[in-house]
Point group: C2
Chain length 340, copies 2
DNA sequence: CTGAAAGCGCTAACAC
DNA sequence: GTGTTAGCGCTTTCAG
């Protein structure tokens, strides 16, 4: 019972290939009786159509690529859930590609993707990515691309983002309201859309509250955890040490907590912290962590839905071109003493 | 310049299809000069072979399926990194399937996979899975399957696991050494290989230290976080409340910390906790969390390597059939007051 | 209502 | 060294 294909079914039933094929696809051309016979045997023999033959013929693979910087990060892993939720019912399969935050890796992946292996791409670019040619090339081949979270603004593809600038503004304003006057911003890239936006929101908030923007308070972290730890420690050892921190990425949570502990700085008394993070565990840290929680699941879901629309050749509305799903500032103890 | 295929290249170069094909695959039959011409044009036109045509022909897709309960879990997301690392160099693509801990979902996925979409499968079964027929069916179709972490012992497929029983034993013995006499075990399934093993190790340790095994101390948690919280709280409110906990799964960390806090129980003074977890953030919890850290990356990598071996028809050695990579007990404050 | 045949893009016998 | 051809499994005109 190996390799059951349409030919085998046809032979067994004394029908032609095309009749069987049509019966299986429930064509109106085929009589109910024949359909029943075909379906019965197909079920009995456990016939499963060969995905590649269909793909080759129809030039659609029912695969979508999800290109991510990394997967061991709660934002991205939750986003994958959203993507999967949106896509499963439509019969699409999710191929995960990891760039490991490398531009070269990203370019290689997008190249590989041109093999027709996938029908469309969900993309969140690496922190190194500034050039857009590799994505443009894919789009030129009519492979639908939808950006989510980390976008390339100049490209004409739908973008699903959160309100990075606004939420960084809110977080910064919150720290100011809590009495901070020397607030640091920790980014992970100077080019990345989300980091620029968040930094812009941070700077705007300082400006609106008549606080100076100091270069010394804006740190760009690396992918090297140990090095980041040194950078943050140095920041917190300065004479005019920051009394507030807006960290733009989850990975830095551990770094800041450890640095504070080593330097015997108390949170929130000496330093107040807010962090872009989706870690559920934020609530049980001590102090519990004030987070800007991104709508990871919703963003993944929305991005996948727009992509599916494109794959189904449905017209995109203006709303689909840029979807902004707000993040939520959840104030906890790390930024607010009075918080219970 | 759309749809560059071999035919187009052949036409342009006044060569036949097969000559071009052979040239691109660097066949010894083709002259160096021709190869050069072909390669030059292929590069210029940015020719990328159609993955489906090759797959259909050669009956290999260069895709592997990774079937997981969930992805928003540090063990699995790190394991994906290991898988990706092992597989990327070999040119394989990773398709992620999520069962969401559902047997029905798992069975549906394995069915879908029979379409030939993938060359092999890495599988970590859902907590509901007890039946093996769905996996057996796949193996009967000669789709190579490799289990990792959560295995089905009765099936004749390679298994990559950690030393669940031993590490649970170590964790339990550690708690006993710290003075615990009423130790609870929190599982998530009565059937899952890892939970049975861990529970066995726990019971063995109790026995070896002349402590009774009480049914009341063995809790099976659900997928419902709120309900788990109630269960754990109730456990900790008992007259003879446990003074130690071995939690078999990362998700329960938050639950236990919150329950302790709400009940004003101090860790480690009132309750000592060890948890199977790969959370980096464990170090900055207060108290910092004693973990049994699983070799997630290594397990994913090893599993993928064995699968690739099978796909390449290389013989498996006895060692490949069952690989056990030890976990590490990292003692921190949640189980040991004297820990700095 | 059913069947014959072409063709998706590629590879590998098998000629020449 | 190069070319011709068959065929992987499926879908879809187009004929009957």
């Amino acid at each position: 019972m190996k390799n059951v294909n349409i030919r085998a079914l046809a032979r067994e039933l004394n029908l032609s290939l095309s009749t069987v094929s049509k019966a299986l696809r429930d064509s109106y051309e085929i009589s109910a009786a024949t359909k029943e016979r075909v379906r019965a045997l197909a079920a009995e023999w456990n016939y499963i159509p060969n995905a590649y033959a269909s793909s080759l013929r129809g030039r659609k693979s029912k695969n979508i690529a999800v290109v991510l910087p990394e997967v061991a990060d709660s934002f991205f892993s939750i986003a994958i859930n959203g993507i999967e939720a949106a896509v499963k019912a439509k019969g699409y399969h999710v191929i995960i590609y990891l760039t490991h935050e490398s531009y070269a890796g990203e370019a290689a992946i997008l190249k590989d993707i041109q093999s027709g292996r996938v029908d469309g791409v969900l993309l969140s670019v690496s922190r190194e990515t500034t050039d857009t040619a590799h994505v443009q090339e894919l789009m030129d081949k009519d492979v639908p691309v939808v950006f989510f979270d980390r976008v390339l603004e100049t490209l004409a593809a739908p973008k699903i983002v959160t309100d990075d600038a606004e939420s960084a503004y809110k977080a910064t304003a919150h720290l100011i309201a809590q009495g901070c006057r020397e607030i640091a911003y920790l980014g992970i890239s100077d080019s990345l859309s989300i980091c620029r936006q968040r930094m812009a929101g941070y700077m705007q908030a300082l400006g609106d509250h008549q606080l100076p923007v100091h270069q010394r308070n804006m740190l760009t972290c690396t992918t090297d955890g140990a090095r980041n730890f040194q950078l943050v420690k140095k920041l917190l050892q300065r004479t005019h040490r920051p009394d507030g921190i807006v960290a733009s990425v989850e990975k830095l949570t551990t770094t800041v907590y450890q640095a504070c502990r080593q330097l015997q700085l108390r949170m929130p008394e000496d330093v107040k912290l807010t962090c872009f993070s989706n870690l559920e565990i934020a609530t049980i840290l001590q102090p519990s962590l004030t987070t800007i929680t991104q709508p990871a699941f919703e963003m993944g879901k929305a991005a996948a839905e727009v992509l599916v629309k494109m794959l189904e050749k449905k017209p995109l509305t203006a709303k689909d071109i840029r979807i902004v799903i707000p993040s939520e500032l959840v104030v906890r103890e790390s930024s607010s003493r009075q918080h219970k």
